[in-house]
């Protein structure tokens, strides 16, 4: 069955696949994860806020983003970000946003909605008594959150945050719609050039499987270890 297959293409092109394609995928994943967790944490605090306007706005945003496909959001932001940017700085012309920046903003804003729900569960996993204790020491809201609640929430949620990041790692392949060259995009290019689509796609699938499976296994191990001793 593999008689006509020629896996030599991988041997020839792997530096390009990994140093260009995979490097881009990993970079976008990490930056989007950091930005997404930060934005998601703020959104979670917003959703749990006693100020109704804030909690309704944050909730609306999260529910909207979570109910549309990522590809659609990528298109939206790709076409909208130049205009929003122009509006923000008061310019009449749409500003020039590179494809990479556009993709990055999109992923941060999109993943923030998912990280938000994880952080919300994390914040709610910290007992009310901890909040009382922080306030009783004279802390204000931001100190209470920053010093007492978020460190515990974050720690409780590390496994879920990482699981979401694995999903993000896979989702990054959707940047092909913006003609950016991630791992899949790089593989796709050389595969078309050399007419070796099947071999290349098999290889790409294998790489994704190995990375994601390894990470999931690590997350599972971590899950048992991070639980805080009370």
């Amino acid at each position: 069955m593999f008689g006509n297959f020629d896996f030599e293409i991988i041997e020839r092109t792997w530096p390009y696949l990994f140093y260009v394609g995979m490097a881009f995928t990993i970079k976008l994943t990490i930056v989007a994860m950091l930005g997404g967790i930060m934005a998601g944490t703020l959104l979670a605090m917003g959703r749990l806020s006693h100020l109704r306007v804030i909690s309704i706005l944050a909730g609306g945003y999260v529910n909207l983003i979570r109910s549309v496909p990522l590809v659609l959001v990528i298109f939206w932001f790709y076409f909208l970000v130049p205009y929003i940017g122009a509006w923000l700085i008061g310019s009449h012309e749409p500003i020039k946003v590179g494809d990479y920046t556009s993709a990055l903003v999109t992923f941060i804003l999109f993943e923030a909605a998912y990280y938000c729900e994880i952080m919300r569960a994390g914040i709610q996993s910290v007992s009310r008594g901890q909040v009382y204790a922080a306030y009783a020491l004279g802390m204000n809201y931001w100190q209470m959150m920053g010093q007492v609640v978020l460190p515990q929430a974050f720690r409780n949620m590390i496994p879920l945050l990482l699981t979401q990041t694995i999903v993000l790692f896979q989702d990054v392949s959707l940047v092909y719609v913006l003609s950016l060259t991630d791992f899949v995009g790089a593989a796709d290019k050389v595969a078309h050039r050399d007419g070796r689509l099947t071999e290349m796609y098999l290889f790409v699938a294998l790489v994704y499987f190995v990375i994601c499976f390894t990470l999931s296994t690590i997350v599972k191990r971590l899950q048992m270890r991070v639980a805080i001793v009370r």
Partner: protein
């Protein structure tokens, strides 16, 4: 020092506090007791504004707790509080627990905070445990750390919300000993507790609550000698039979 005037509080349509008035003078120890669900924990949490109330006034050292413009964090920093479930911060070591409020709220330097913290840890007999995490300590030890954490803020008064009711019996005394010592040093204390031995030993006054109402508010001798209300009689006879 602490004065409550006609305080009422509702959860929805359910009234948890009904026209409660009492006071704690400087250097006075007031024990608040009563059956569970009588509103005593809620009452003590209104004193430093952890629980809002809808009617009445609460004054702490001349500052109105319920007033709109009151800087609650600043007021709370001056009133120590100890909780039923200790509420040490589990992600921080014992000495970090003692430092946090001192550094972030009072603006003390790390050295000063650590020194002060160690002083109070030593007072509760736990200086040797300063690098441990709360999860590594027994309940009684955790509660003593919690008391030290509150004292390190140099409070003008201390609030205790059932400090011994989550403890195993053999650990109750080590916590009560610290509290007795504190009371004898003249600390202003408001203590919600079922420990009538503690009340007899150091309390000046006893407040008895039932169903959100302050039923008795009198000198200790009077309360244990001849309480006027039937409900206080019934409560005491249940609690003091053993």
């Amino acid at each position: 020092m602490i004065e409550l005037k006609n305080v009422s509080k509702w959860y929805g349509s359910f009234q948890v506090l009904d026209d409660c008035s009492t006071s704690v003078q400087r250097g006075e120890v007031v024990v608040v007791c009563g059956p569970s669900g009588s509103g005593k924990s809620t009452l003590i949490k209104t004193v430093n504004g952890l629980e809002p109330f809808q009617k009445g006034e609460i004054w702490v050292d001349g500052i109105s707790v319920g007033a709109k413009g009151t800087d609650l964090p600043r007021l709370r920093a001056r009133v120590g509080m100890v909780f039923q479930h200790f509420e040490l911060f589990p992600h921080l070591s014992v000495s970090q627990n003692l430092n946090l409020g001192q550094i972030k709220v009072l603006g003390r330097s790390r050295e000063e905070a650590t020194q002060k913290g160690l002083l109070y840890l030593d007072r509760v007999g736990l200086a040797a445990h300063r690098d441990k995490f709360p999860g590594e300590l027994s309940g009684g030890q955790q509660q003593r750390v919690a008391i030290a954490r509150a004292l390190a803020m140099d409070p003008i008064a201390m609030l205790f919300d059932e400090p011994t009711s989550a403890l195993d019996p053999e650990m109750i005394n080590e916590v009560l000993d610290v509290m007795v010592q504190l009371a004898r040093e003249g600390m202003t204390m408001m203590v919600v507790t079922h420990e009538m031995g503690f009340a007899k030993k150091v309390a000046h006054r006893v407040v008895f609550m039932d169903k959100g109402v302050i039923v008795e508010d009198c000198e200790k001798e009077e309360f244990f000698g001849a309480p006027r209300s039937e409900r206080a009689h019934a409560f005491l006879s249940k609690i003091l039979t053993h």
